[in-house]
Amino acid sequence: MDIIELNKRIEQESAFVDAMTFEISKVIVGQKNMVERLIIALLADGHILLEGVPGLAKTQAITALAKTINAKFSRIQFTPDLLPADVTGTMIYSQREEAFTVKKGPVFSNFVLADEINRAPAKVQSALLEAMQERQVTIGEETFKLDEPFLVLATQNPLEQEGTYPLPEAQLDRFMMKVVINYPNKEEEKEILRTQIAAKRATITPIVSIKDIIRAREIVKEVYLDAKIENYITDIVFATRYPEEYGLGKLKSLISYGASPRATINLALASRALAFVRRRGYVIPEDVRSICMDVMRHRIGLTYEAEAENIKSEDIVTEIINRIDVP
């Protein structure tokens, strides 16, 4: 593998990223980090969970992303009375054919927006998360493969926790990243105001095809990940499990369980995708550090002691990143 050649190829192939970012920025002001994470998840073939207070354009960002790609998009509003069949599909009796026929659910799309995922009961969440993991859905006796690319973009808001069903740790682990969205700054807020009250609303035109995405995914797989970076990633993940071995003994009492091997895999995949987005054919520690928080924050269990001291998983990840030596 020639790194110069790969870099050149990536330069060409990743051009659509800027175009996509531009299209999305027509309707989404600011939130560059969120948009970048959405593209990374798309390229790394991972699902993403967005968390933020209402009104931060989570749903709009996902809708905009889907619109930039000429792909099937469906939105499921999770409610307490939602049933698994409402997500995956069901068998319907056809009087004309005198037989049961399959009625596919909204999960059969390239982009599935699971809005307020924590409002539906566990059985519905499980149905969706199973589809996320297996990339296939079984209805009746028939199993259907889901289309490529298949990306679940779930949202949840940290407020109004009453009557919600928080995602279990095992299911949270299936999301490649959990992105926390904050309020825009003052300038961005003004820009939002202008765009929203403008006489003519901006429209998004599809600029990428599914084929482009699949090809980009193939190139992402070629991004070089050096052994030094592999060590760096495993060190970060191991530090969440055995903090005392990395001179972080004070974190031991705060962590109830560390990140899983899935975290290691996702950190490597997301780092590669980020290197691609930044037009590089190799991963540098900067990529790992940049994506680490979003990959790790939902994979670390906190103890009661940590909760009592109001310590969040973000604080632990920050502590680990600052402690582990950069290669």
């Binding site: 593998m1 790194i3 110069i4 070089y224 050096d226 030094k228 970076i229 054919g281 190799y282 991963v283 540098i284 520690p285 900067e286 550090r289 600052n322 402690r323 582990i324 030596d325 950069v326 290669p327």
Partner: protein
């Protein structure tokens, strides 16, 4: 006349003596001999006439040897004659021969014309016979053991503690004096490590790296790893940038923010880090000319940003 009177007085006296001298009555004791402390019963009877009163006269109720407790009087009839039966109860506390009823008399009537005197009876008061050979001889009891309470021991503990503290104090004082003497005798030599300026250390390390000839041996990855480590250490010691915990871009942003580093020096560092990242993380193969140039550039960066530190080496 005088003689006549004297004769009359003498006659009268003799006559009166005849009148007062009465009858004697024999008193009887219940036993002849008693032990010390025994009750002694002494009784006698006097003819009784209901019309004439009788008065019991006891010369001595208590003597050194006999003590009269009570006298019980009762009437009895013997041979168609009435008597007053007197019973006296004594106790003796002194051994020896005693006269029981001595000084006891009974006066009949109001006038002292008739008196019954009681004839004393001799009795023997014996001591208790004690045979010490047959009595069990018991050992003298030992002193009872009574346990001490903590309150009783507390003062002792205080005293012991005080003694202990005093001993420790004395020991420490002796030790201190000894140490002081030793210190006076042999003054401690404080070795002062010569402080080496970060740039001297960095330049020395760069020279060592050149001598290793890693580039010539096609060990570029190791060469650039060591090169970046030298720069990290220099930046940390010279500018306080914790470079070993930062990524290249983080280091560069810190360097850029430092006003003492010129744009030209920043560019040098940017080039070195870019190439190092390429070699370290992307298997990029450089040639010896590039390697040498970057080493020279790094030396240039160190020289441009150096700061002299006053040497604290002792004067020789």
């Amino acid at each position: 006349m005088k003689i006549k009177n004297l004769i009359i007085v003498v006659l009268l006296a003799i006559f009166s003596i005849n009148i007062t001298i009465g009858q004697t009555v024999i008193g009887v004791a219940d036993k002849k001999s008693y032990n010390i402390g025994d009750r002694i019963e002494f009784s006698f009877k006097i003819p009784f006439d209901a019309k004439v009163s009788q008065t019991l006269i006891v010369g001595k109720s208590n003597s050194d040897s006999l003590e009269l407790h009570t006298t019980i009087i009762d009437t009895i009839r013997e041979n168609n004659k009435d008597y007053l039966h007197y019973k006296q109860y004594y106790t003796s506390f002194v051994s020896g021969t005693k006269n029981l009823g001595e000084g006891v008399a009974v006066k009949i009537g109001d006038s002292a014309d008739k008196i019954f005197e009681i004839t004393p009876m001799r009795i023997e008061i014996l001591e208790y016979p004690i045979d010490t050979t047959k009595i069990e001889i018991k050992d003298i009891k030992t002193v009872l053991e009574e346990k001490f309470t903590f309150k009783e021991i507390l003062p002792i503990i205080y005293v012991l503690l005080a003694i202990l503290i005093i001993i420790i104090g004395i020991c420490m004082l002796i030790r201190y004096i000894k140490k002081k003497r030793q210190n006076i005798e042999t003054p401690e030599v404080v070795k002062v490590e010569p402080k080496i300026s970060p740039h001297i250390k960095a330049l020395q390390s760069l020279e060592d790296l050149r001598k290793k000839k890693l580039s010539e041996r096609k060990l570029q990855k190791q060469y650039y790893t060591e090169l970046t480590e030298i720069i990290w250490i220099y930046l940390e010691e010279r500018f306080g940038i914790c470079a070993s915990e930062m990524t290249s871009s983080e280091i560069l942003s810190q360097v850029k923010a430092n006003s003492s580093i010129s744009q030209k020096d920043y560019k040098i560092l940017d080039d070195v880090f870019f190439m190092s990242d390429l070699v370290k993380f992307a298997k990029y193969e450089t040639d010896q000319i590039i390697d040498k140039n970057l080493l020279t550039l790094t030396q240039q960066f160190v020289i441009n940003t150096k700061e002299e530190i006053e040497s604290n080496e002792p004067n020789k």
